[in-house]
């Protein structure tokens, strides 16, 4: 049986939050955390997820030029990159941390991206597994 990964998704409330919430309700291993803007997410929050045993962390931000707060979705890019560098130092595959950009009406794209993410996470396996 394929490994069931533990995934935390930080989702901007102006992006596909409603859709993501509904999807997470159907899967016990998927956690959604709502944020007012993807720019609110800090590397501490991301790294704590991995520390607590999550196999994958996804940040969902608004598409370019559509950020309600001008450029929060750009700022989070730098935060995620800093977090990725920490992961590399810890010898954790940095594919476990990704940013996806969606507009609120991109339901279908979110669903297909979500399936892809679960597959990737399943293949990467548990974060506790030795590389």
């Amino acid at each position: 049986m394929a490994y069931k990964p533990n995934i935390t998704i930080f989702c901007c409330e102006n992006s596909v939050y409603e859709t993501a919430l509904n999807v997470s309700k159907r899967h016990s291993n998927i956690q959604i955390i709502k944020v007012p803007c993807s720019g609110e997410i800090s590397s501490i929050h991301i790294l704590k997820c991995f520390e607590s045993g999550r196999d994958m962390v996804i940040v969902i931000a608004c598409i370019e030029e559509a950020c309600h707060f001008i450029n929060g979705n750009i700022k989070v890019g730098k935060v995620v990159e800093a977090a990725r560098n920490r992961l590399k130092e810890l010898d954790i595959d940095d594919k476990r941390l990704q940013i996806l950009n969606f507009a609120p009406n991109m339901d279908e794209k979110f669903h297909s991206a979500f399936e892809d993410i679960v597959l990737q996470a399943s293949e990467l396996g548990s974060i506790y597994k030795k590389r």
Partner: protein, 386 residues
């Protein structure tokens, strides 16, 4: 003063009139000697009934009757401090002392710059819309047999040019009965009374030719006049103004209005609104509506003499603040000041609650975790993560 309006064109005048009627105190700031803006130089506007100059004169006369509206001409904004409900601005006035004004909101109505394209050839037959308006108003037109308008030809033209093309095509056809053609890729009739104008123009026998797919290299045109639209560019004071007021501009340099999450007249700062051509590309009718919307928004904000504070704002723990200024530099809404804190005896960042949008970007980037966003505190999120 309750509301500062920058720009004395029709947008600023319309907004000021509405606010004057509502009993608000208004300061209207105009850079030139007189009010009226671009409407002063137009010969006609479709379906207006009177000349644009008379129209704007009437509006100015009506506006000047309000004792609660102060008009400053030959004046420019140098500096604005403070936040929504409590702005302090300094004006530079030609041949006069600078003036300081306290106000609760700002409406930016600074309009656009109409810029004639540089021409490679020096032909008397190639003219732009400003020339055309000039010739028509000064009765300089003798006999013409054929006039061609280029609209939306090499690049996407502004609505202002499209409207001007149709209006002038109609005028030439009615006045001179010459052959009038419009060469274009697209005429987009999105706007108040635009479709009505287009129908009138077609009914008068103006010829429309589509140029999509036509090889325009070596195109040979036979006509008395070839009319080319000017470029509509941001007003030359826009960049400085955006820095003075901390408001965003879009990629073309106009004031930002293309963000899908923003109501059109709102800016990235609470209490600062946009009205008119400086942020939308439209003809007079839509500009009038837009100006009223901005004025209404400003009035609504200040009507109760209180500013509502959102609960979901950020807060600084002054003890932890190292004054690195990261938050101040990254706040998209210019909502953070530096203040001396009595409690901890030092200067620290201070979130101005009434100006805060609750995005949390400052909280995310603060290196000492000194800023917490209410309802999204670190403790709360870390607990969710488990």
């Amino acid at each position: 003063m309750s509301i500062l309006i920058l720009g004395g064109g029709i947008a600023g005048i319309t907004a000021a009139t509405y606010l004057g009627e509502q009993g608000q105190k208004v300061a209207l700031i105009e850079r030139e000697e007189g009010l009226g803006g671009r409407l002063n130089n137009l010969f006609s506007v479709y379906d207006l009934g009177i000349s644009p100059k008379d129209f704007v004169s009437r509006q100015i006369t009506k506006l000047k009757k309000f004792s609660n509206v102060d008009i400053f001409t030959c004046a420019e904004l140098i500096e604005t401090k403070g936040h929504v409900g409590n702005f302090n601005s300094k004006l530079k006035i030609k041949n006069s002392k600078p003036v300081k004004i306290k106000h609760g909101a700002i409406i930016i109505a600074t309009g656009v710059n109409v810029s004639a394209p540089k021409m490679d050839c020096n032909s008397q037959k190639i003219i732009n819309h400003t020339h055309l308006e000039d010739y028509i108003s000064n009765n300089k037109i003798k006999r013409l047999s054929k006039v061609i308008f280029l609209c939306d030809f090499a690049k996407e033209d502004s609505q202002i040019i499209a409207l001007s093309t149709l209006k002038n095509a109609l005028l030439l056809r009615e006045k001179l009965r010459c052959e009038v053609s419009v060469l274009s890729r697209n005429i987009k009739v999105a706007g108040k009374k635009f479709e009505q104008l287009y129908t009138a123009v077609r009914e008068k026998g103006v010829i429309f030719s589509a140029v999509e797919g036509v090889d325009v290299e070596g195109l040979h045109l036979i006509c008395d006049w070839l009319v080319i639209g000017e470029s509509i560019l941001p007003d030359h004071g826009t960049e400085v103004l955006s820095l003075t007021l901390g408001v965003e501009r879009d990629k073309q340099g106009f004031f930002q209005n293309n963000n899908v999450h923003f109501m059109p007249n709102l800016s990235n700062r609470k209490g600062i609104f946009f009205a008119g051509a400086c942020h939308i590309d439209a003809g007079l009718n839509d500009i009038l509506d837009d100006s009223l919307t901005a004025a209404y928004a400003a009035h609504n904000l200040l009507e109760k003499n209180t500013i509502e504070i959102d609960e979901k704002t950020a807060e600084v723990d002054e003890e932890k603040c190292a004054l690195c200024l990261t938050c101040i530099r990254s706040c998209p809404h210019k909502a953070i000041d530096i203040e001396f804190s009595r409690e901890v005896g030092k200067k620290a960042a201070k979130i101005v609650e009434e100006a805060c949008f609750g995005c949390g970007i400052c909280a995310s980037l603060c290196p000492s975790r000194a800023i917490q966003l209410r309802e999204y505190e670190d403790e709360k999120i870390l607990k969710l993560i488990g």
